[in-house]
Amino acid sequence: MINSLFIYSPRGDLLITKVIKDSVRKTSSLSEVFRIQIISDSSGVIRSPILTLGSTTFHHIRKNKLWIVAVTRNNVDSALIWEFLFRFSNLLENFGINNDDSVRDKFTLVYDLLHCILSIDGVPYDTELSNICSKLGIMPVNKNVISGSSNGSSTADSNGISINGSNSNIMNSGNNSNSSNNRSIDDNDFFSSLNPKNFGKFLDRKSNSNSSSNTALNSYNNTTSDIPWRPNLDIKYKKNEIFLDIIENINILISKEGDILKSYIDGVVEMQCKLSGMPVVQLKLNDEQQQQKADDFEHYLDLDMKKRKKGIPDSAVKSVHLDDYKFHQCVQLNKFHTDCSITFVPPDGNIELMTYHVKEYLNLPFSIQPIVTSNSRTNSVHYSISLKSLFSSKLNATDVVLKIPLPQGTLECNSKASNGKCKYSVEEKMFYWRFNKFRGSTENMLQMSARLSENIIFDLNKWNKPAISLKFEILMFTCSGLTVKYCNVRERSNNYRTTKWIKYISKAGSYEVRY
């Protein structure tokens, strides 16, 4: 599928050429074509992420300013190619390769990596971080990059996920690195973990759970149940831990009249697993689809009608309507389809377990009410803004920043605020109102007037008025109201105890108000 793959430095120097199907000579001329057509042509603006010349197609992405390019023939599945390129770039980051110097430094690793993740035919083979680590016998440098994700939102926020355990116990104990650069591919012993008998019928928990793992392992037939994302059964942790982070990005656009033009939440459930053996995790959310399955449908049909008539506010809705979910490959989709339980054998380490999307019934955490007037006599614009937090007073929002764009030709700003810090940035023509901490159920006011340069005739009605935007982060609050009902980890061994950590974070995606 992929004929060859290139990595270029930001300046356009070719760093990596992986030839897969074409001849060497042809590939090198193609790399030149791409450099001329795209890199030297684009002055910072990418017109299209895909270029087709004849029957050759270049799919390219930019990550950390590096150009990663896949060359293909004929009509290929573009989704697959791009998805693969993003996974690949995430893997590179996992191994600390994030600029042209580090690519040059570790270029042998890049080739090894490509060998592992692409099949002979150039089709993506396996991109699960934990698998690659065990294949190559190396440790990821940067574990905060979520391996399973190709999402734009960077989630390298380690706040609260303090990793207590040592990193080294991910690999099985038999794998001792004997070469200077921490590589140990050459030994048979790491395959001892890939031994056939290590593949378990993971869902078969009735099997004899003797204390000795060997007898347990012998008790199933070794022909089925291959789990591509957790081939290694011998993972051992002193303490079994599972971390769930529920991170929501809320996007709102409010018009001049206060109409909500756009409102949705992109949520992601990130998980870090430090679990021994072959655990099966079951997760239940307060999502209505999951709840509804258990309940009698007809009964609610009546209730629904009543409720609408009486106009009971839907704050009483206990469950959340998730408009869509996307799951990591480890989740058993068929099982989710039949009984709506999220069941999976997790890969080791960090993954993005699930992403979801909500567009109705959001908890808006903030309301912004701007009143903007202009005074032609003093040639100034006057802003009066009230910022109200609508969440419980028990919670605090942190890093709250209100960004107010000012017209061109603003000379100075005079502001009075009931709280928070004010700053005017001359270069950006932007006024910042900052709070380190914003309590729930609180209203704050800002009075600000911007004086314009005299030679500008300002007309408020003719100014294009870029939207006022807000940034914030609230811990232990979800805009959708999503919560984890329970999270159950089971394993064949008897004394399997797991510690679970859950964190909810709501963040502003684009939270904008026009005026």
């Binding site: 760093l15 060497v24 090198s28 017109r47 087709t52 992405i61 004929n74 009509n75 989704a79 697959l80 042998t108 083979y125 190559l136 190709s150 070469s179 395959f191 031994n195 149940s225 291959d226 591509p228 081939p231 409010i254 206060g258 109409d259 033009l261 949705y264 209505e288 049909l301 009543k306 409720k307 609408r308 506010p313 009483a316 809705v317 206990k318 469950s319 959340v320 309507h321 408009d323 979910y325 996307k326 490959q329 989709l333 068929n334 989710f336 992403t355 999307h357 567009k359 109705e360 109200k388 009931s418 159920s441 609180t442 109201g481 999503l482 919560t483 009902k485 159950n488 980890v489 797991t498």
Partner: protein, 792 residues
């Protein structure tokens, strides 16, 4: 050694000179059975040597580097993993890297090739390390020009596939082997006779089918399918897709859950067209089974699933609304992917809109048709940080999705873009508004669009905006000649006639001036002043327009002034102009007019020729249904981005057609989307809420204790499953009022406008702005600070 030094273009002789002694020394130690230490200088030097060689590939320096083949091979021998004393994986790896790229019969001597081959074969069979055995196989596959290599690779594959062992390593090996088959066969038989070729391919097809039916491992089966598909498509006499029976496909779909994401996506991809449902029931059964895959996080899997469902929907009569709704929702969820993938998804939404959306105005039936996609337009509002390609696609989508119901929202949004700082964007937005006016010919759409354009004209007098608006107005008048009222025309022309710079807007202005000259008393003076005088400096298009208009004015109203202008233009066009087209055109006019003056041609005919009625324009953005059908079978592929027939973009690809079957719908538009009586998800939501509303206060109270315990991840939360479950039973985060009114549908575009004030509620603390900015803190504040400190 620093990385910079490695990434330098070298000559083979330089490297040879520098490193040959080290290699020789090492070779001696190796031959005498000695050991080269892990950290010894020699080893490091050899490492650097190989790194330099491989790094040189990126400088297109292959020819030069091929001279070092022997040296590299020596290194491989010394440090190979099978050698007892000096195994080093990094060096082995680099050597293989080199061999893969360099081994060609033209550059390397036959003798050396044979030696290397022996070595590789040894690795294939006797290296217990799976990494290196696949590397060896890969190397054999890459080196296609040498028949011995291919032969050995096939031999190994036969050996491996037939082995009964089912251990995990063997499974991975087997998988690699299966996937290597088509790659090897493609090149091997390019110049052998048909007979022999067919025999060998038949053998492998049989082998793969056997494996497919007998294997227990789903990933092995997946690999078999992939290889089979490849062989069927690329070889005679088949040259067609793999065909799967209903039972086989059911079996495959059932085990999709055991595949990794890439295999999954490839398999769903090949299922399209390979499965041909015989009846509607079969089709429904498969759709039901494949639906869960829409929830995968891999974009490719989701798009392939959508493709498969759409393909199957050609073999059913009706689809449930819940299915189309799920497709829409899963598309929406893909819109938070990185830009490149988002772009692909948006392009495919365009495709679906074109192929599946029913044109409401043209449907003769009274039944309201459900749209296939149900996506709120707000997802296609442009964000300021979108790259250009996404902005353009979103604009196109807004245009396509506009109808009488949402036109005002879309126009408001487009108006915002029109005053954007980005000039390209604002031009495109104005274009879109104009096109919308032309598109929505019934109802208020056009009126609103024209109003917005006039508004914009008042709003900003930036040149490019004005010019763009004038060009757009020309199209609008071509569609609705009656919209050109006196007030609008006089406003457009008198205010902005001097602003026109670009040739398109100039031509548009001339056209408007000519067409509506009856609204303008001074039209000839204006025309003379602004266009005729500078005739010679104009571009070709503008000159054409001026010429045509001058003649039109004269024919319409022959008086002295118009004659003067007309003759002036004709003279300039014939005598001073260098463009033959303009010259010919003006001669033609001249001839016509002189025929008029000598009464050879009646006036009516001349008028008809020169100033005839123009046909109304229509916007046609529909694609041929056949092309759409083909594109639907290529969802998610590169062709779906270009929205062109596959063969137009990629000549070697074959056009895909829907296979015939008794269940095939004669016409795509016959597909009916049925609203389910029950809308399970939503009703359940309301239901649960209803039941719990009485106990709501209770859970509110209990949350007071709930929140802090979850909030901190300190040791106190460490506990067993049991305590965990109970805690999360009352959801502490749900106690925020949701005041927005019910819209009735579970997330569709039908929800009424919500207002921010619906969410408003009184707050506990209101911080007022203090009159004075005093630096002194209140005593109460200080006290609070102190108490806080105490706590810690």
């Amino acid at each position: 050694m620093s990385s910079q030094a490695i990434f330098v273009k070298h000559k083979a002789s330089e490297l040879k000179q520098e490193y040959d002694p080290v290699i020789q020394e090492s070779l001696n130690i190796y031959n005498s059975g000695g050991t080269i230490g892990n950290n010894s200088n020699k080893k490091k030097k050899i490492e650097i040597f190989l790194k330099k060689v491989v790094a040189n590939f990126t400088f297109n320096n292959h020819l030069e580097m091929s001279k070092l083949y022997f040296e590299v091979f020596q290194c491989l021998k010394i440090f190979h993993t099978t050698s007892s004393n000096n195994k080093d994986s990094l060096i082995t790896n680099l050597c293989y890297q080199y061999i893969q790229q360099i081994t060609t019969p033209q550059l390397i001597s036959q003798d050396l090739i044979q030696q290397v081959l022996k070595f590789i074969i040894n690795d294939l069979y006797y290296n217990n390390n799976q990494y290196f055995s696949t590397l060896a196989l890969e190397t054999l596959c890459y080196i296609k020009k040498i028949p011995e290599y291919t032969f050995e690779a096939l031999k190994y594959i036969d050996h491996n596939i037939e082995s009964e062992s089912n251990s995990s390593i063997d499974l991975i090996k087997k998988k690699t082997c299966i996937e290597a088959i088509p790659n090897l066969l493609i090149d091997k038989f390019s110049n052998k006779e048909q007979q022999q070729k067919k025999k060998i391919i038949d053998k492998y097809i049989k082998l793969l089918w056997d494996l497919f039916t007998n294997s227990d491992s789903s990933s092995i089966r997946a690999s078999c399918l992939k290889s089979l598909q490849y062989l069927y498509v690329n070889f005679e006499p088949w040259n067609s897709n793999l065909q799967l029976s209903f039972d086989e496909s059911k079996k495959i779909i059932k085990t999709l859950g055991n595949l990794n994401e890439w295999d999954k996506s490839c398999i769903i991809n090949l299922l399209t067209l390979s499965v041909v449902p015989k009846t509607h029931e079969e089709s429904y059964a498969i759709i039901d089974m494949i639906l869960p895959q829409l929830q995968a996080s891999n974009t490719s899997t989701v798009l392939q699933t959508i493709k498969f469902i759409l393909y199957l929907s050609n073999y059913v009569e009706a689809l449930s609304y819940s299915i189309t709704n799920r497709i829409s929702n899963s598309i929406i969820a893909l819109l938070h992917k990185p830009n490149e993938l988002k772009f692909l998804v948006l392009r495919n939404v365009i495709l679906l809109l074109l192929s599946r959306e029913h044109n409401n105005s043209s449907s003769t039936e009274n039944k309201p048709r459900e749209n296939f996609l149900n996506i709120d337009i707000s997802y296609f509002f442009v964000e300021f940080d979108d790259p250009i390609y996404i902005k353009d696609t979103k604009l196109e989508l807004l245009y396509l999705m506009a109808d009488e119901k949402n036109i005002s929202i879309i126009l408001d949004e487009l108006k915002e873009y029109a005053i954007d700082i980005d000039t390209q964007m604002s031009r495109k937005a104005i274009r879109a508004i104009g096109n919308l006016a032309v598109k929505l010919d019934s109802g208020n759409g056009k009126k609103e669009a024209i109003a917005v354009l006039l508004d914009l004209l008042d709003f900003c007098s930036v040149e490019y905006i004005v010019q763009e608006i004038i060009s757009v107005f020309k199209n609008i008048f071509r569609k609705y000649p009656n919209e050109g009222t006196k007030s609008i025309i006089s406003k457009l022309v008198t205010n902005y006639i001097d602003v026109m710079e670009e040739s398109e807007s100039k031509s548009a202005m001339i056209w408007i001036l000519t067409e509506y000259s009856n609204h303008l008393p001074q039209y000839l003076t204006l025309f003379d002043e602004y266009f005729v005088k500078i005739f010679l400096q104009q571009t070709f298009e503008v000159q054409c327009s001026i010429l045509t208009s001058a003649v039109k004015f004269f024919v319409r109203d022959s008086n002295k002034q118009s004659e003067e202008v007309c003759v002036k233009v004709l003279k300039m066009a014939t005598e001073q102009n260098g463009n033959p087209d303009i010259r010919d055109k003006s001669f033609m006019y001249w001839r016509l007019l002189s025929g008029l003056s000598t009464n050879q041609i009646p006036v009516e005919i001349v008028k008809e020729i020169i100033d005839g009625k123009l046909p109304l324009i229509t916007l046609n953005n529909k694609l041929d249904p056949l092309i759409l059908e083909e594109l639907e079978l290529n969802i998610g592929s590169a062709a779906s981005i270009y929205l062109k027939p596959v063969q137009q973009v990629f000549r070697q690809n074959k056009t895909r057609y829907l296979p015939q079957s008794p269940a095939l719908l004669p016409n795509k538009t016959d597909l009916v989307i049925i609203h389910d009586e029950k809308r399970p998800s939503l009703l359940a939501a309301l239901g649960t809420g209803g039941i719990n509303s009485s106990s709501r206060t209770g859970s509110l109270r209990s949350m007071d204790s709930g929140i802090p315990s979850i909030r901190d991840r300190s040791g106190s939360r460490v506990g067993s499953d049991f305590s965990f479950e109970t805690e999360f039973d009352d959801d502490p985060l749900n106690n925020f009022s949701r005041n927005n009114s019910f819209s009735g549908t579970g997330g569709g575009s039908t929800s009424p406008k919500k207002n921010i004030s619906d969410y408003d509620k009184p707050v506990e603390n209101v911080n007022q702005i203090k009159r004075k900015n005093s630096l002194v803190k209140k005593p109460s504040m200080l006290a609070r600070k102190l108490t806080l400190k105490k706590k810690f």
